[in-house]
Symmetry: C2
Subunit: 581 residues, 2 copies
Amino acid sequence: MTPLATLRRYLPILDWGRRYDRASLRNDLVAAVIVTIMLIPQSLAYAMLAGLPPEAGLYASIVPILLYAIFGTSRALAVGPVAVVSLLTASALGEVAAPGSGAYAAAALTLAFLSGAVLLALGLLRLGFLANFLSHPVISGFITASGLLIAAGQLKHVLGVPAGGETLIGIGLSLAGHLGDVQGATLAIGGGGIVFLLWVRRGLGPFLRRLGLGAGAADMAVKGGPVVAVIASTLAVRAFGLADQGVAVVGIVPQSLPPLTLPAFSPQLLRDLAVPALMISVIGFVESVSVAKTLAARKRQRIDPDQELIGLGAANIGAAFTGGFPVTGGFSRSVVNADAGAETPAAGAFTAVGLGIAAMSLTPLLHDLPKATLAATIIVAVLSLVDLSILRRTWRNARPDFAVVATTILLTLLMGVEIGVGAGVILSLALHLYKTSRPHVAEVGLIPGTQHFRNVLRHDVETAPGLLMLRVDESLFFVNAHMLEDLLRLRLAADRGIRDVVLMCSAVNVVDFSAEEGLEALNHMLRDAGIGLHLAEVKGPVMDRLRDTHFLHDLNGKVFQSQFDAWVELTGTAGPQRAAE
Amino acid sequence: MTPLATLRRYLPILDWGRRYDRASLRNDLVAAVIVTIMLIPQSLAYAMLAGLPPEAGLYASIVPILLYAIFGTSRALAVGPVAVVSLLTASALGEVAAPGSGAYAAAALTLAFLSGAVLLALGLLRLGFLANFLSHPVISGFITASGLLIAAGQLKHVLGVPAGGETLIGIGLSLAGHLGDVQGATLAIGGGGIVFLLWVRRGLGPFLRRLGLGAGAADMAVKGGPVVAVIASTLAVRAFGLADQGVAVVGIVPQSLPPLTLPAFSPQLLRDLAVPALMISVIGFVESVSVAKTLAARKRQRIDPDQELIGLGAANIGAAFTGGFPVTGGFSRSVVNADAGAETPAAGAFTAVGLGIAAMSLTPLLHDLPKATLAATIIVAVLSLVDLSILRRTWRNARPDFAVVATTILLTLLMGVEIGVGAGVILSLALHLYKTSRPHVAEVGLIPGTQHFRNVLRHDVETAPGLLMLRVDESLFFVNAHMLEDLLRLRLAADRGIRDVVLMCSAVNVVDFSAEEGLEALNHMLRDAGIGLHLAEVKGPVMDRLRDTHFLHDLNGKVFQSQFDAWVELTGTAGPQRAAE
């Protein structure tokens, strides 16, 4: 690769930046204004969810978005604090410091730095494929459970009680213990906020569409709901002096651009946060890439997952040095950005400028914003993540996947995110390996009038006496290396008339060293019994692998290109095809 | 299953016991006498290797062999202390107690009990297949490294120095530090023993065979070598009063049948020994089953791995309550047993009687047996386990397996058995998953004059313009769920003329929920691009799985039974086959 090409690969901005024009500028500016307005309450809310002061949410939405604009490959992805990553942040930091303390905020910087370092390292080593090990059921289960956990965790703000708890049971017990302390005014604001936001989402959107508003404009109005709730509840607090009646408000937020901060680097802290950082990186990456791919597919653009790792890594390191906390590409903010017409990452840069202005000048207006309203916006937002339909869909015809979803949801709710996701990943790998360790092997016969072979139990096929044709439906490797030997020992004991065995290898993609030994043993067993062992439809890569092995050398039979060739030769019938030649 | 059949399954003795006759009795008795003589020095040696008093080796060879005779399925397997398991025992016990202490011997009982419990549980749950996860390269690498470690660890007895060390480097450094303390007489006995035993093995055996002795008899003479060495060196010690000159001898061994003992069950000890017990169970089981299978194959008998787990479990629990330590089916003792003509497990029972007599009456004769001789027998025995040829064989055409062997050997030697085997298992799984996450996908075409489709890059095949036929060489599941989408996006961008894509699914054995979503996304992508997506050669189980899914419902194309059917319909050419009908 030329130095310039390398530079372009690592700096996608060089690509779109060259072609930037006035029309793109106008569209990006419009999108940025809309996104900025939406992001102000969202940033404050997710900072609260992460257990951090409100300004951290604003800071985490400024520099990271700028760095992603330089290094990221998605044109519309908006990077900043998101619900699930904020939950993971709170759960990780709760282990090392008390929420609200200086150590807690410093540890948030360290966590962002570590996540950024992990993401960068994975990107530079081009290990983006590792995210594939999080299966769809694990991700779905985890997101659903996180949505429920987050919503449950925010109820304390809606009720105005000092409850705690990390797991669903812990939160429930803690809330139950504080039921006597519920504050009426807070509940009115929080409960009212939830009802209003749900109505906006479920009632207003369809209503506006019926009025003839375009779907995009109607959605935009729905997305504006939280802004309306924030303004209305802030004005209510101020008008009725509710802060004096015990309604918790955001309070004093410093007027400042993001400060320059240094993460704490004590060895103990780095050790404690290493696993959570890895988790946040991988989950944040998976979430971000799936959003980016969805948006890119709409416009036929391309996402490079390895470069995305670099973009998100830079964003998190940026967050670490500017008073933020771990960030990733968020679904709702990105969709708003795309719907509002953003054409290039410059829209993100303009959003950053907008948020910078807000951080410097608008924060006094936020003083009387009730925390209950922020909690209401979080609850309504995360409940849309909860999707239990996957349980029904996997139960029908993908039971192993059902087991994985159910395990992930239950363990995440009851024992926390790390155990839930870890168990989900291990269970999905274990179930897959269990399946491959006991593969399906079909006895096949010829479908009359064709050269095609199918399972004798499912199709009406021709077979020949003394000829056993087996289709092995799995790669042969250590977990099933001796399966064929065991299976044929039983089969031969039951049927003494077998003279030839043909293994149809169309589904054998790999033969490892253990399986090679297994095949050798099988060959010896069949040879001792006076039975021929033949292979058919062995693929190129497998044939390359077996060439020059003892097994192929001593093979007590032949290797046929196709199953039909084996049939023709071993049954002595000329195939219809050959007859015609 | 009838109660009687259940009883027969769990008590194989009911099966062979019914048909036991005079001829079998004579053969079993002869075999038992030979094996008893061989087992006396071997039992003492492996007890020493495990860090236990010599009588523990005798005890561990008595009751376990009886219990295995009742519950085990192999006709010739001899159960007792073996080298590798004794090494694992020493390494586990060294973590919890000082060798030679009472706590050490009690912990050995606990370890045997835990291993027995694990084996029994695995057997009752029919989880014997779990042993398949130890691939051939991991087992080979581990056995080779263990052989080297054991031999190195025994050098201290040959040199007569009080060295220690657990890893190759540790042992080497410790020996180097004691080079000044080497005892001449001990070295003469130990070194002489090694030279003699190597000569017996490499020189005497071939010599006797050249003299016309049968291979069996010659091998038997070779196996008798250690007995000769034991007798000769014991007489030498007595004759020259070498014990007074500092030659370490076995010393006083109590004259007793195996005592009734109770393992220690403190929670801390159980926790500390849980992982080593699991390891010993699985490794001991794998070793034992492979020996049993080899012997059974010679006589066309059958081994039931799940029942073997029960037999070995019972044997270990027996060891725990009769002053023993962890045992398993050993290679050399089993081969001698089989070669000496053992026909049924009764031979094992007679061996137990023989060893019982030895434990009661012959132990005073062992007083002057030098430990250096025992060490020499161990060293020569385990060096035959060392097989570095697997490194060469895997290097040639199975590089991932090479990586696994090399890692297992190196880490076992340098960091101990648990880390070595653990890393080997994890690496073999990871390499397999890595491979399946980036599967081989071949573009195929029709081999002229047949109905067989092959890789266009390897074979001279027909293709058709606008028709892309891809053979997917892997099951579709979460680790590669989006691979086809990514691959086709690139392929379609490069070739704008494609109108139809046929996925030849002969190697797709599984489609999980994640892959179903991936296929749906692929279908949408192709539909939006006006390209048809077709499937061919979908197997029965996969078709069952996909029936009633959104993907198949919305499929923008057809499902063909064979690739040839797809070719005929999509190219509009009548196949030669159809033309003939």
